[in-house]
């Protein structure tokens, strides 16, 4: 039982990080039909921005701010202007190919310009263990969970309680109508890209101490984000959160109780099962399909 609680808490922590990544993913999809195959690399990269800033002498908190700012400019603004905007007129497929190429570009850049070795990354809080009914829970897991939950709550308040957030939701649901109502649709789409970059950067800060900063991190993270989005429902922010948490917990439990060799396989099997039985996801709305 004690080990179950331990696994549950660390699973929730990983799941919360997945949820952050998946929420950004679904935001891009909802506002601009962008499927970002480079989403995992968007999470891998900010850690290297931060490490570079720290190598230049910045303290961790300042380097983290620089990392988030660079992520917003490069992975938010430039990604939208340079990659997505010229491509949207061609439809979904070229953009998919383009983000696949982008993921390759970012991965190779991190490898060639920083290092191909896994880099240690500072933790948010000093790593100590808390004993709780016989279970050993690391403060790190709790800190990750706290930051992730705070981020998601903030995002939720932004989307649901502010005028800006409602305008963004309107843009996602019906761009034409939103435009008629006087909502600056293009700016709302841009905001979605910026928010995605911030979420990716925060996820990067949370996950890098656990996985170490490595150029290949994006592969598993991107897949996890997508699986989470599918499980929960592609067109719902709530769905992505639920999917992320389910995925993180199942991932940890299955690795411990079933087979660690096939750890990577369980999320994929869940993905296939969900697509077969409930393609719109657990919380998703059914989207119109042409055929």
């Amino acid at each position: 039982m004690a080990s179950f609680i331990q696994l549950l808490v660390s699973g929730l922590a990983t799941g919360a990080i997945y949820a952050l990544i998946a929420v950004g993913f679904t935001l891009l999809w909802q506002t601009s039909q962008t499927i970002n195959f480079a989403q995992g690399e968007f999470v891998m990269l900010p850690a290297f921005f931060i490490l570079a800033a720290m190598n230049a002498g910045a303290p961790f908190w300042f380097a983290a701010l620089i990392g988030i700012a660079l992520a917003v400019v490069i992975l938010g603004l430039l990604f939208k202007l340079v990659i997505v905007d010229p491509m949207l007129q061609h439809g979904v497929l070229p953009l998919v190919i383009s983000t696949i190429a982008l993921s390759l570009l970012l991965k190779e850049s991190a490898k060639d310009f920083y290092s191909s070795q896994a880099q240690p990354f500072p933790t948010l809080v000093p790593a100590t263990d808390i004993h709780f009914f016989g279970a050993v829970i690391s403060t790190q897991s709790l800190a990750v969970l706290a930051v992730a939950v705070a981020t998601i709550v903030t995002l939720h308040l932004l989307l649901d309680r502010t005028r800006l957030g409602r305008a963004m939701q309107a843009t996602a649901q019906n761009p034409t109508l939103a435009l008629i109502l006087g909502i600056p649709v293009r700016r709302m789409v841009l905001y979605a890209f910026l928010i995605n970059a911030v979420l990716a950067a925060i996820a990067s800060i949370l996950i890098s101490p656990i996985y170490l900063a490595k150029f290949t991190n994006g592969e598993t993270l991107g897949m996890a984000a997508f699986v989470a989005a599918i499980i929960g429902g592609f067109n719902q922010v709530r769905g992505a959160i639920l999917g992320g948490v389910i995925l993180g917990v199942l991932d940890n439990l299955s690795a411990a109780y079933l087979s660690s060799q096939y750890r990577g396989a369980f999320p994929l099997l869940i993905l296939i099962a969900i697509i077969l039985m409930r393609p719109q996801g657990l919380l998703g709305r059914v989207e119109e399909r042409t055929v």
């Binding site: 039909q33 499927i35 195959f37 990659i83 010229p86 491509m87 949207l88 007129q89 061609h90 439809g91 979904v92 497929l93 070229p94 953009l95 998919v96 190919i97 383009s98 696949i100 190429a101 982008l102 390759l104 570009l105 190779e108 850049s109 490898k111 060639d112 592969e219 897949m223 997508f226 699986v227 599918i230 060799q261 096939y262 990577g264 396989a265 994929l268 099997l269 993905l271 296939i272 697509i275 077969l276 393609p279 399909r289 042409t290 055929v291």
Partner: protein, 333 residues
């Protein structure tokens, strides 16, 4: 095919046959690799270019084919049988995978096939009793036919080239048949195809399975070509590469994969100067190409030649934003 196209095809064929006589062994290995990957890319072009479905599983099918041939030939079965089994197995797996996967489209399918590729990689790595795990399979023999051994590099190249030629002709013939027309109809306008009485789902499934089968056959040549296979060769990287080959060459053009495979095989060699950075340059080129000419190199040539020949502008390849088709093509083959 018009006269210019026929002339181009003949001169390329002459060039392909003459090439090994002017190349060092490594060069011959590279063009053999081109022939093998062109088969896999041609299969993916059926799925992507004609039936309009993004698949990231082609590398996994090459892997399944390669392991099938390696294991069967080492168990003493003749190569021809193993080769056919590789194709047949991948056709069957493609069918079984396609059945659920084709319920979803485009980006969903891309991720489902991506998941499949990762699963295949995990099985190849973990099932050591069968695949020898991370140590891979060594010393895969090259076949001999009626005393003609394909062990020397030029012989194996001609064997690969011959196989490529036979499979190309078969694919060409299939695409000219009502089946092939149906594939194009699916891509161009699925609703119309459906309303004309085509069983769209079955044809999509068929395109996917045949494409997978070609991937398996390519794998059947890949194993004796490199003579050493290990799981990581068939991880996501290869599927991405094959997808980029089809796109860069021009998806939906019959010769697109040939061009794309040539570029993907030769580019690292040309860009020796750029050393480790060549993948960065390659990725950047693909992004630029997607922005300006999503129909690939052959699409670009097509467009330019139309402008030159008829001196009238062509309609740009525009799909409606976020449309269900998401097609990048303006023309069939």
């Amino acid at each position: 095919m018009n006269r210019v196209g026929a002339a181009a095809a003949v001169s390329i064929a002459i060039f392909a046959v003459a090439a090994p006589f002017f190349l060092k062994p490594f060069g011959i290995f590279m063009i053999s690799m081109w022939a093998v990957l062109a088969i896999a890319a041609m299969g993916l072009n059926l799925t992507l270019g004609y039936a309009g479905q993004v698949s990231l599983a082609q590398g996994a099918f090459v892997g399944i084919g390669a392991y099938a041939v390696a294991l069967l030939t080492q168990a003493g079965y003749p190569f021809v049988l193993a080769f056919a089994a590789a194709g047949g197995l991948c056709f069957a797996v493609g069918w079984i995978l396609g059945y659920p996967a084709l319920r979803v489209q485009h980006h969903y399918l891309a991720f489902v096939t991506l998941a499949f590729t990762t699963l295949v990689f995990l099985v190849l790595r973990n099932e050591e009793w069968l695949t020898n795990g991370i140590y891979g399979i060594n010393g895969i023999a090259r076949p001999a036919f009626f005393g003609w051994s394909t062990r020397p590099a030029p012989n194996f190249y001609f064997f690969s080239l011959g196989t490529l030629a036979v499979l190309s002709i078969a694919t060409w013939w299939m695409l000219r048949s009502p089946w092939g027309r149906a594939f194009v109809a699916l891509r161009e306008n699925p609703i119309r195809a459906l309303s004309l009485g085509l069983d769209t789902r079955r044809y999509t499934l068929m395109a996917f399975a045949i494409g997978s089968g070609l991937g398996g056959l390519a794998g059947g040549l890949y194993a004796p070509l490199v003579q050493f296979i290990e799981p990581s060769s068939f991880a996501l990287g290869m599927s991405f590469n094959l997808l980029l080959m089809v796109i860069v060459g021009g998806s939906g053009y019959f010769f697109g994969p040939f061009v794309g495979a040539l570029i993907a095989v030769l580019l690292p060699e040309w860009m020796r100067i750029a050393q480790g950075y060549y993948l960065i340059v390659y990725a950047a080129l693909v992004i630029v190409m997607m922005a300006f000419c999503p129909s690939g190199i052959l699409g670009l040539i097509d467009r330019v030649s139309k402008v030159v020949l008829r001196s009238r502008p062509t309609a740009a390849a525009l799909g409606p934003r976020g449309s269900a088709q998401g097609s990048v093509h303006e023309h069939g083959p």
